[in-house]
């Protein structure tokens, strides 16, 4: 009975805060203040009530999975609605910050252009470079793992290179490989290579002496040990590296376009739209990039759960 009344209490507070949030948003929309102090007050009020709503929602669910799913969505919705309200209520010029609705309209209206940009930058530039870079790093990692000389020599260099601002090679690679997607892929290869190398080498070293001894009692050859024991054991590290370099790949492909590109591509679109102060278009490109990044990340997470089901971090 007590738990029931508690649940009722939190449910009521969720509903109350939601209603308050909507009312305040509507009131702000009706007023259209241009006074700075009042504007700040509205923003603070919206933020506070919105947060109270999310807070109540997080405490609401008896079953934690509901709160786990609902809370981030609620926060996202609150931020979007608050953003829309503030932009319309305060008449923020779209040169500074376009409203979400305006971005959505631009996004829907330019699907064809954005799709072409997506194919050019993400599929051709980032993905081809990502695959080549990861494959190269994999081959090199097996070599480094096999020969101790390379491990002691190449690994410190690799660690050092992984910390460097490799984006800086973009102008050079664009000069070598031309303006089209090949140069973007080259930048991605260089950016992805060292983090992957360091991660895979660390992963290949992640077997215990006991496990390796067991393989020896089976009289397994080097390659048998590698394929049946050490590669599977390295997978969590490999996925860690894959996730880190997925983001790096997108960054590399887009930034490389700032140094020269054909008249298609996400980086080109950002630069061109900025020149026309068409910020709604820039934000649409951001949405595309965010979707691509999240999809790739999600895909890797699913693949990881499927392949490394035995690892403690994946067990439920």
């Amino acid at each position: 009975m007590r738990r029931f009344s508690e649940a009722m209490g939190t449910t009521i507070s969720v509903v109350v805060f939601l209603l308050m949030f909507v009312v305040i948003a509507l009131a702000a929309l009706g007023r259209a203040e241009s006074d700075g102090g009042m504007a700040l007050l509205w923003v603070a009020l919206l933020a506070y009530i919105g947060w109270q709503f999310v807070d109540a929602l997080a405490g609401w669910a008896e079953a934690p999975s509901v709160g786990r799913l609902a809370a981030p969505f609620a926060l996202g919705a609150v931020v979007l609605i608050g953003w829309q309200t503030i932009v319309t209520a305060l008449d923020v010029p779209s040169v500074i910050l376009p409203a979400p609705s305006q971005i959505a309209v631009t996004f829907a209206g330019n699907l064809r252009t954005l799709w072409a940009d997506f194919v050019q930058t993400i599929l051709k530039g980032a993905m081809s470079g990502y695959v080549v870079g990861c494959a190269l790093a994999f081959g090199m990692a097996v070599l480094v793992d096999r020969y101790d000389f390379l491990r002691r020599g190449l690994l410190p260099v690799g660690n050092f290179m992984a910390a460097l601002p490799i984006v800086g090679t973009a102008p050079i690679l664009v000069m070598w490989f031309g303006f089209d997607w090949q140069s973007k892929a080259a930048v991605v290869v260089v950016m992805v290579f060292f983090p992957m190398l360091v991660n895979i080498v660390a992963g290949l070293a992640d077997t215990t002496a006991m496990q390796r001894d067991l393989m020896r009692t089976y009289s397994a050859s080097y390659w048998q040990t590698l394929i049946t024991l050490r590669l599977p054991a390295a997978l969590p590290f490999v996925f860690n590296g894959l996730k880190v370099s997925a983001t790096l790949a997108l960054i590399g492909a887009i930034v490389a376009e700032f140094f020269g590109s054909p008249t298609v591509g996400l980086g080109f679109r950002i630069n061109a739209s900025l020149g026309q102060l068409a910020l709604d278009m820039v934000w649409s490109v951001i949405v595309v990039a965010a979707l691509a990044g999240s999809l790739l990340y999600g895909f890797l997470t699913v693949l990881e759960r499927w392949l490394t089901f035995w690892h403690p971090s994946q067990r439920r």
């Binding site: 926060l75 260099v157 102008p171 930034v255 990044g293 999240s294």
Partner: protein, 311 residues
């Protein structure tokens, strides 16, 4: 020793690669000076393979290591440019520190300084924000549930690519130059710090938390006396990642605003075909990254030793 061997190998590969990369330009140059080269017509040379040209004109390998505006400058050319644009420019240049009392705006020291200021400012802001967010996430269930997924999603967005927009927008609001670059650096450095700190603040195990409970320690006491000290090793591990990311942010942030900085030097070099300038700026950035990471590591060792860690 193996490190030196690998570096020497890399340098050797670099020297060898310079020859085919530059051979076409070298041949054109030699032809203008009246030398006899093997495929005499320019059209034939355009279609020929680079290595084929090298073997047909073995006597012209030497000049390919000293061409101006090379496609790939040789290591000693880059080192020369690095020396020229730091030491020589400052000591003998008209605008150098010796002649004018301030760092020359044509020297890499000046541009490195511009980048360094933005990097450090962004790093400090980002780290403080990251730590505060981590504390919030650890002590507030709602923040843990609602903010953490968005923080992860925000990192899958290639935010560096948005640098131009952030700078233009901040500029139109009246914040310019340093603050805008620092904002990008801060964004990039905040996430690793937040994630590392959350992990660190949660690292004390149940036994240790129970011990504090038997001492009837309150929340702030358990924070200052257990959670915070326990998180320090995690904090420094993520600070090292964060400062490298912060440098990348500052460099990319300098691309749209041509007002000094290593990023501006790189873009300028790529506009005017000054490859040596790009490479020199790149090496300067590499030295800075290594120095910053080393500095954080040094502070880490000092702090851990002062805290009584066994190393």
């Amino acid at each position: 020793m193996p490190v030196l061997a690998v570096i020497a190998t890399l340098l050797a590969i670099w020297y060898v690669a310079v020859v085919p990369m530059n051979i076409k330009e070298v041949l054109t140059q030699a032809e203008r000076e009246g030398a006899v080269i093997v495929p005499p017509s320019a059209a034939e040379r355009r279609d020929a393979g680079r290595w084929g040209l090298v073997f047909a004109n073995l006597d012209l390998i030497g000049p390919s290591w000293s061409t101006e505006r090379a496609r790939l400058p040789a290591p000693h050319q880059v080192a020369g440019e690095l020396w020229k644009s730091t030491w020589v420019e400052e000591t003998t240049g008209r605008r150098g520190i010796v002649q004018s009392g301030s760092f020359s705006n044509r020297s890499l020291i000046y541009h490195g300084g511009v980048t360094l200021t933005a990097t450090v400012l962004g790093f400090v802001i980002g780290s403080v924000l990251g730590i505060l967010l981590a504390v919030g996430i650890v002590y507030n269930r709602a923040m843990d549930l609602s903010v953490m997924p968005w923080a992860i999603i925000s990192q899958t967005i290639p935010i560096v690519a948005l640098a131009p927009m952030i700078i233009v927008v901040l500029y139109s609001v009246g914040l310019s130059g340093l603050v805008a670059k620092a904002a990008i650096s801060a964004y990039l450095s905040f996430f690793p710090v937040a994630v590392g700190m959350v992990k660190g603040l949660r690292s004390p195990d149940a036994m240790q938390m129970d011990l504090l409970q038997t001492y009837s320690a309150n929340k702030s006491q358990s924070f200052w006396k257990l959670r915070l000290p326990a998180s320090v090793p995690y904090l420094f591990a993520s600070l090292k990642i964060a400062i490298a990311a912060s440098l990348v942010g500052a460099i990319v942030g300098e691309l749209p605003v041509q007002r000094g900085g290593l990023g501006a030097r790189m873009l300028g070099g790529s506009y005017y075909g000054q490859t040596e300038q790009i490479w020199a700026a790149l090496f300067m950035a590499a030295v800075m990254a290594a120095g910053l990471v080393w500095l954080v590591g040094w502070i880490e060792r000092r702090t851990l030793r002062a805290m009584g860690a066994q190393t």
